[in-house]
Symmetry: C2
Subunit: 384 residues, 2 copies
């Protein structure tokens, strides 16, 4: 199997943007091509990770619009949707396009434009990914998160404050990320006293609604040096589903898709959790950071919160998590998020993360679709 390298990466400012998804995709796409010094018409494949441009904007066919905007014709285009993990799914798809020999140069651009819709409207579009029985009863992802958080805190005798420490850490990391939606520290008192959204989770336990885009350029590792010396290699990538009906899971604090995709990605990369130097986890809700830390083997079941208490996941800890600020402070434009996670890990393992830089040869990104309904995990190694 041909190994696949990432030779370029870029992302837009995340936040409330006065631009449609098509413009955001073009902005990140152009920046990524520039990063690698290639032109649009050098591309064989152009993939777009996007969940819902039709529902949010009434526009479909955005990959073809992007091919136009990047001058990429006749590059083959397609859209990859795996709900909130569309970016991870796109990474996997772009990897497959190169690893299969179908493409020698694939640009993946993930993006979403959401802030022109109300939070209720956006939440409803996202909730349409749940099982119809859940959707009809008004269950949304935030309500699942609240129930899971309550369960976790009780099962493992963890204090509610520990969730707030995840939010505090990720907001602190976001201060050093110029692309983040929120670049301000938030103190624990503010977090813990913020309005209840889905008890025990409060406002600061949730990621925001965000516009933004991120891009990656992939090619066979064998030709990567023709483009740049600063590339990373996708040594592991995999995806897996858990039950589509959330209440059918044996243990609500275990996300089977995280466990399974993690095991497959580790096996492919020939590494284990102890080899990971930095990780981006899908902290759409603070509680998810615990579930992914445990599902990926970074902590034993019920012990992730203790690792957070002890500062192990801080930037100067044993395993820095969400150095980018995570979805929590960086923002969560659905189709962009998984791509932006890999962007951050790429920057870290090639040593280009600026003030966020940590010691990292091997990094991991975990992108959660729905409430763990489908999850992708990607392992990168720097080529240095």
């Amino acid at each position: 199997m041909e190994r696949v390298a990432i030779i370029g990466a870029a992302m837009t400012q995340f936040g409330q943007r006065g631009a449609w998804v098509r413009e955001l995709l073009a902005e990140a796409g152009k920046a990524c091509l520039d990063d690698a010094g290639v032109e649009g018409d050098d591309l064989d494949h152009l993939y777009v990770s996007n969940m819902a441009s039709g529902e949010f904007e009434g526009m479909t066919g955005v990959p073809n619009a992007l091919a136009h905007d990047l001058g990429a014709m006749p590059a083959y285009t397609q859209r990859i949707d795996q709900t909130s993990s569309s970016g991870g799914a796109g990474t996997y798809a772009a990897w497959q396009s190169v690893a299969s020999g179908a493409s020698d140069l694939t640009l993946l651009v993930g993006g979403e434009k959401m802030t022109h819709r109300t939070t209720a409207e956006a939440t409803d579009v996202i909730a349409s990914l749940t099982h119809p029985v859940e959707y009809k009863h008004g269950v949304t992802l935030p309500s699942f998160a609240g129930m899971t958080a309550r369960h976790y805190l009780e099962q493992y005798d963890a204090p509610r404050e520990t969730l707030g420490k995840v939010a505090r850490k990720n907001h602190r990391n976001g201060v050093d990320n110029p692309h983040a939606q929120f670049r301000k520290e938030v103190d624990l008192g503010t977090i813990l006293d913020s309005p209840v959204i889905a008890d025990p989770l409060r406002l600061y336990d949730f990621c925001p609604i965000t516009d933004g885009s991120a891009a990656l350029l992939l090619c066979p590792e064998s030709v990567a040096e023709e483009y740049t010396d600063d590339y990373s290699v996708v040594t592991g990538v995999a995806g897996a589903t858990d039950t589509h009906v959330v209440h059918e899971r044996d243990d609500p604090t275990t996300m089977g898709g995280v466990v399974e995709s993690g095991e497959q990605a580790y096996e492919m990369a020939g590494v284990g959790p102890d080899d990971i130097d930095v990780a981006e986890l899908h902290d759409m809700f603070t509680i998810l950071e615990f579930l992914q830390m445990e599902g990926l083997g970074f902590a034993d079941p019920g012990e992730a919160w203790e690792a957070v208490e002890e500062g192990e996941t801080e930037r100067d800890g044993d395993l820095p998590i969400n150095t980018s600020g995570g979805l929590k402070s960086k923002g969560h434009p659905l189709g962009a998020s998984g791509v932006a996670q890999v962007y951050e890990i790429h920057e870290q393992v090639i040593g280009d993360a600026g003030p966020r830089q940590v010691e990292a040869d091997v990094g991991l990104a975990c992108n959660v679709g729905g409430f763990g309904n489908c999850v992708t995990t990607t392992v990168l190694e720097g080529a240095r």
Copy 2:
């Protein structure tokens, strides 16, 4: 590069169905698994070709729903959208998943549920794939087709009747397809006198709005015989874009994406147009059958209509086209159509096409997204 085989294929009844897309996908998916004698939990990857379940039904995340319905967990899932060529794009994606080594068994299911919406609503959803400038001015795909047909007929001095002969042929073929939406012959007078939709195109020049689903099961050729003796091999598959703004094309009667994807697929398969024994072309509008015949080298520019006049594309002609009845009589459930095209070619090259069977070792399917904005072409050979 590992060659990829199709070891199972199935499709639902196309037409006006009292079932949501999720149910249609499950119906075709289960039938396809049964066709190959495998279970849902044998799958590594489960891909769904679908353009617009969110827009049509307010439901997203259908690949995860399908994983539930097929008992496929923890198989990895994703949705592939390339507008009206989502099925061809899904075929390419499923091929990549196996050829890359990521999956040893991938089920692709394409489907769409449309008939609960009015024709105007469905046409509007489809038109949202056009360039925003075109969309704002009210240009829809049928209007592009009308303008292109007028141009073609004038440029090549072809009679309007020749378009009607495409419709008559495809309706005649559909009579023998138990899955087709319309199973009745239509005489030329009825076709030519039907109401004008986009002059010179009339009602019978257009495919219908359709509900339906189709599925393919793919694995490495090296293990295909463990499942069945009746398999086909994907010897060529490729995709390419043309300009997203239709009026920017140098020649409105040439679809660049057809030409480019065809050339790439031929090269990969090591064949040329003369080697193709049977083809499924994307006759969303009758005029498109001419453009694809010429773009794929089955006829010289301006001469496809003469081949139709001479009966060469009839079931007993030199190159039978749309033995399934085509989109014209079989129907066009967007995400399903490209998969159903490959289904028909698969059935033909393994000799299982029943009353529609023609002499065929090598077949081709061409799936057109938008108005040729992105096109995929697939070449299959029978393993017999």
